[in-house]
């Protein structure tokens, strides 16, 4: 039999812990660890891959206006109430992680107050016991008052909060530091900015072990390959010993995949494309699985069926490739 060519890496990806249990001062049923890899994705014989990638269900504080029907059908009426929506994800779809997007705080989409959003965060934390990702609305000025209020409301729960960007990171870093959370550092598909932002954040005193990088991705057909190459290059540098780029990745696969025409256009518009009820799920699934191969640690996704497929994919690759498993068989 031919011998496997194995690479020896000197570096490792940082391990980030999301969620705090009662023993750790929070109220989550379990904490989730991501990162810690000592080789590229799924290369089990080459190095340690201690933590599985994990999928977060995206939940909004306001009914999403631009989600297509083939996606909203999966959630039905629960979309109107973030608490019911979050509960449905955990109870019906066995979500391990919830990503709460505070879109309703945006001045153009509801302009909810920091107090309203902080109250919602507290209620979600009461309703479900999985670890929480909290995402701002994308308006810097508004996020700078909403997210610190939410950080405080979730104090001790060790959430993952986002996003810090190169031109707006100080307020969020300070809030995350004060209330014991982790941060998402977002860069526009630009490895140089990703590295720079990690240094800027760690210079403020937040350890690199509390940063998750959002490299920004494109969906299948919309720049996925470019995102893939950026993530891969980042991983190779990290494994070669560059700690400043050794952060786990969070990828918003659902957000990007469901913007693609191919996932939402109806069969009436494009008869040759087949039914959109299957097509959208496939588009999101393929986008997500490609990202797993390039190193995604957390995938934020939307359609429960796509999520189920991706979770199965993760389990299959983990089991069939596991060295221990192979040793057991021998």
């Amino acid at each position: 039999m031919q011998e496997l060519m194995l690479e020896t890496w000197s570096g490792a990806i940082n391990t980030v812990t999301i969620g705090a249990t009662k023993e750790e001062g929070g109220t989550r049923s379990r904490a989730i660890k991501v990162g810690g890899q000592k080789t590229l994705p799924f290369l089990f014989p080459e190095g340690e891959l201690p933590h599985k990638s994990v999928v977060a269900f995206e939940v909004w504080d306001t009914p999403p206006a631009d989600w297509p029907k083939n996606l909203t059908d999966a959630y039905g009426d629960s979309l109107k109430d973030p608490l019911k929506w979050a509960e449905k994800c955990v109870k019906d779809f066995k979500a391990q992680l919830i990503a709460l997007r505070l879109q309703g705080a945006h001045p153009d989409f509801g302009n909810k107050t920091p107090e309203q959003e902080a109250k919602l965060v507290a209620e979600v934390l009461k309703k479900v016991d999985v670890p929480l990702i909290i995402l701002g609305c994308g308006d810097d000025a508004k996020d700078n008052i909403v997210l610190p209020a939410c950080c405080e409301a979730a104090k001790g729960e060790r959430c993952l909060i986002g996003s810090a960007v190169q031109d707006n990171y100080k307020t969020l870093v300070a809030a995350v530091l004060a209330d014991g959370h982790n941060i998402i550092a977002e860069s526009p598909i630009d490895i140089n900015i990703a590295k720079q932002l990690n240094i800027l954040i760690s210079d403020m005193g937040l350890p690199l072990e509390r940063i998750v990088v959002n490299p920004t991705i494109g969906a299948l057909g919309y720049g996925l390959e470019y995102a893939y190459s950026i993530m891969e290059r980042c991983r190779l540098a990290a494994l070669a010993g560059d700690k400043t780029v050794a952060s786990p990745f969070i990828c918003f696969a659902g957000h990007e995949a469901w913007r693609a025409k191919e996932s939402k256009a109806t069969q009436e518009e494009f008869p040759e494309w087949g039914p959109e009820s299957e097509r959208g799920i496939i588009w999101e699934t393929i986008t997500a699985t490609a990202l797993l191969q390039s190193g995604a640690d957390i995938l934020v996704m939307r359609h429960p069926e796509a999520i189920a497929k991706v979770n199965k994919y993760i389990d299959n690759l983990t089991i069939s490739s596991s060295v221990e498993r192979r040793a057991d068989r021998v």
Binding site: I191, N192, I193, A194, K195, Q196, I199, L200, S202, D203, R233, C234, A237, G241, D242, K243, T244, V245
Partner: protein, 262 residues
């Protein structure tokens, strides 16, 4: 780039004095300053004035290891002194150095192997300093061949082409630089390369500038390591930038800080 800080050397007055008085604080401060400045390892040399280099080496190693886990490069021409240092080491170290002479190789290669230490091989022999590239290649090949015979891992061997002062051997500079690249083709896996940098500027009036210009050119030839003064910020900045240009680290606006954070 494997950077060995050169400042703990009895040749320097402050170190000689601290060694004589067994003043740990001076040595430990010097060690920590070099690490902070970006050194990956620290050279340890008792200097010419030491009356009992065997016990001085042991004391230096123990003293430095109280404050840092960085590898130590045991620098002596006497194998006994190196062995004393190896015995005191807690972590994998570096032997600095062997020459291409059989009587040195016969002692130091087995020592390096049994202590799993890296080994610096100087391209020099009892016949003298090489005068051109061919002589350097011959000496390098002698060292590599001996290491291979003894099954010493070649990737742990660092060949030093012997850098001459530019004001003494200006005509040799080009040969020295080219040797760095050509050492790589002696064997597969390739040996690594290293220079004792400060020698190039010995006796010149612009030492830092000569050092950093030479090291930049050597990095372009594929240099893997250097023994130098890591507290020379201009030198370190030039070195880090040279590696950046060769795509050995990812650019960001704070790339100098990023390198030092490693």
């Amino acid at each position: 780039m494997f950077i060995i800080g050169e400042l703990i050397n009895g040749m320097y007055q402050n170190i000689a004095k601290a060694l004589k008085e067994k003043n740990k604080a001076v040595i430990q401060e010097c060690a920590l300053e070099q690490v902070k400045a970006g050194a990956d390892a620290l050279d340890v040399n008792c200097g010419p004035g030491s009356r009992d280099p065997v016990s001085d080496m042991q004391w230096l190693v123990e003293t430095i290891q109280e404050v840092t886990d960085k590898p130590l490069a045991l620098d002596s021409s006497k194998p006994k002194v190196i062995e004393a240092g190896l015995k005191a080491l807690k972590h994998k170290g570096v032997i600095n150095s062997t020459t291409a002479d059989p009587e040195k190789l016969e002692i130091l290669v087995p020592l390096a192997k049994s202590y799993a230490a890296k080994l610096i091989g100087l391209c020099i022999s009892s016949k003298g300093i090489p005068q051109n590239k061919d002589q350097r290649m011959d000496l390098a090949a002698t060292i590599v061949a001996y290491c291979s015979e003894q099954r010493f891992p070649i990737e742990d061997l660092y060949l030093d082409p012997i850098v001459m002062p530019v004001n003494v051997a200006q005509a040799q500079m080009k040969d020295i630089l080219e040797s760095i690249r050509e050492f790589k083709i002696i064997s597969d896996p390739s040996p690594k390369t290293i220079v004792g940098l400060s020698n190039v500027s010995q006796g010149t009036c612009a030492r830092s500038l000569v050092n950093r210009t030479f090291v930049t050119m050597a990095v372009a030839q594929g240099l893997d390591g250097a023994i130098l003064d890591p507290k020379d910020t201009d030198l370190m900045d030039a070195l880090i930038t040279a590696e950046l240009i060769l795509n050995k680290q990812i650019y960001c606006d704070k790339y100098l800080d990023a390198y030092r954070k490693k």
